[in-house]
């Protein structure tokens, strides 16, 4: 995508968001997530970096074959982000520490109040009662507002399908599993049970109970319990979350309430500006890295016509 087109898309997105907003009727700050919402608790102290979750996701979602096999540990040499071809990736941290490396699975966190959803002017996104943030790729126009809005930098852009450019991400296996009450494929395969599936409310209790029972094992925080208004995916960690690549600067308020505080359309457009600038910044960074293949995204950027 050319930078100019991108700018244009963002501007259109910005203004249209403002128009679409009122229809969605979010009650400001009152939404605690659906009571029966499911979730996944990731215990990074259990993960051994086998990447079985990546393989399971690839097969379940019928994604293209990976560049290199799922038992190739060399991928850990670089931090990866989820892409349109890999909805989840595992990264390695703390490699030099005597306590050994810590692995962190990354995927869509399925926010209680998803910024992607509120930023989407064609209403492609839905938060289901089971907790999944799903999307309708048929209506997606590829504006990439959601990619900019996402506090976790998750949605991936599919550059390959030129006719129908769409954003893709983890849907908690909604269509094939969650809808029927079954755990996502990544959870089911995990040999270490680093991933625990259950009702989000129960998982929060389990997480705090694990910390209470074995305080030496964990830092006293459940990431995702409060961040950006709460997420369906929750994390436990043996060291500070900032050391594992988590954004620990996020506020506990959902991203949308920043937007909702403004009343009219003009401030709404203004509120999209910071996001717009960060988008440009990201693009610029990609250009700097061009050709070195530091992350899959920039590879894709390079290979497109």
């Amino acid at each position: 995508m050319k930078r100019r087109n991108f700018l244009k898309a963002c501007l259109i997105g910005g203004t249209t968001i403002a128009l679409g907003k009122t229809n969605k009727g979010w009650a400001s700050g009152s939404f605690e997530g659906y009571p029966e919402a499911m979730g996944v608790l990731v215990d990074t102290t259990r993960c051994i970096g086998c990447r079985s979750c990546e393989a399971a996701c690839n097969k379940e979602q019928k994604l293209p074959e990976p560049d290199t096999s799922f038992d190739d540990p060399s991928v850990f040499e670089h931090d990866r982000r989820p892409t349109s071809k890999a909805y989840t990736v595992v990264n390695r941290y703390q490699k030099e520490q005597p306590s050994g490396p810590v692995y962190r699975k990354v995927q869509c966190n399925h926010c209680n109040e998803p910024a992607c959803l509120t930023s989407c002017f064609v209403n492609a996104y839905t938060k289901t009662k089971e907790g999944a943030v799903i999307y309708n790729s048929k209506v997606c126009v590829g504006c990439r507002n959601c990619m900019i809005a996402c506090p976790f930098n998750v949605p991936g852009y599919d550059y390959d399908s030129a006719t129908n450019p769409i954003v893709k991400k983890c849907i908690l296996c909604y269509d094939t599993r969650l809808k029927y009450g079954k755990p996502p494929a990544c959870v089911e395969i995990c040999p270490q049970e680093a991933l625990t599936f259950g009702h989000r409310a129960d998982l929060i209790k389990l997480a705090h109970e694990r910390i209470r029972a074995t305080p030496d094992r964990y830092v006293d925080h459940v990431y995702g319990e409060k961040e950006v208004g709460g997420t369906s995916w929750l994390y436990l960690a043996p060291v500070g979350f900032d050391k594992l690549g988590f954004d620990t600067t996020l506020s506990n308020d959902p991203i949308i309430s920043n937007v909702k505080d403004f009343l009219g359309m003009v401030p709404m457009v203004l509120s999209i500006w910071p996001a717009l600038f960060s988008g440009i910044h990201l693009l610029a960074k990609h250009e700097e890295q061009g050709g070195h293949g530091h992350d899959t995204d920039s590879n894709q950027e390079d290979t497109k016509p």
Partner: protein, 174 residues
């Protein structure tokens, strides 16, 4: 916490349980070798040498908790199970569910308000954490994914092993 009280009462009424001599067990006979991962799809079944492990580890409780009647070692569990008596069920699969996240298991857990252990792992998780955990800690025993159970053809496809080395960059392995 009434079930906890029951447990304590039960433990007290039995009095001193045989804590040191596993030979005194009257329950299931102790097998020498056991075939694990019998229903494996991605990985093959394999033989677990129970006798050799007992010989080199000595502590039944390293794997069986207090269920075989030996003194529990994990300080976290000893908080409550210092005096717990052996259980009728000893095999891991008797307690750790093969389908820990099925709608049925989750519903049963939610309904069982009395239960203390709401965070009991599934069978696959319990096995790998127990086995790989100790092998890592002792720096002895297999830890690689194919060291205990070789992959099946289905497993090879699952892990896309034909893509090995497809990307020349960072080709070096451990």
């Amino acid at each position: 916490m009434s079930s906890y009280k029951h447990l304590i009462v039960a433990a007290l009424s039995i009095g001193a349980i045989s804590v040191s001599s596993p030979a005194a067990l009257q329950c299931a006979p102790v097998p020498d070798s056991i075939t694990l991962n019998q229903n494996g799809k991605l990985f093959s079944p394999f033989t677990f040498n129970h006798a050799k492990h007992i010989q080199s580890i000595k502590e039944c409780a390293d794997c069986h908790h207090h269920t075989t009647g030996t003194l529990v070692l994990d300080p976290n569990c000893a908080r409550c199970h210092q005096n717990s008596s052996p259980t009728a069920v000893v095999s891991c699969k008797g307690c750790h569910s093969a389908t820990p996240f099925s709608p049925e298991t989750l519903a049963a857990k939610r309904a069982d308000k009395q239960r203390y252990h709401l965070d009991k792992m599934g069978l696959k998780g319990a096995m790998h954490q127990n086995c790989i955990g100790c092998h890592n800690k002792m720096g002895n025993g297999p830890t690689g994914c194919q060291d205990c159970h070789p992959r099946t053809t289905e497993g090879a496809a699952f892990y896309s092993t034909n893509r090995k080395g497809a990307k020349p960059a960072h080709a070096e392995e451990e």
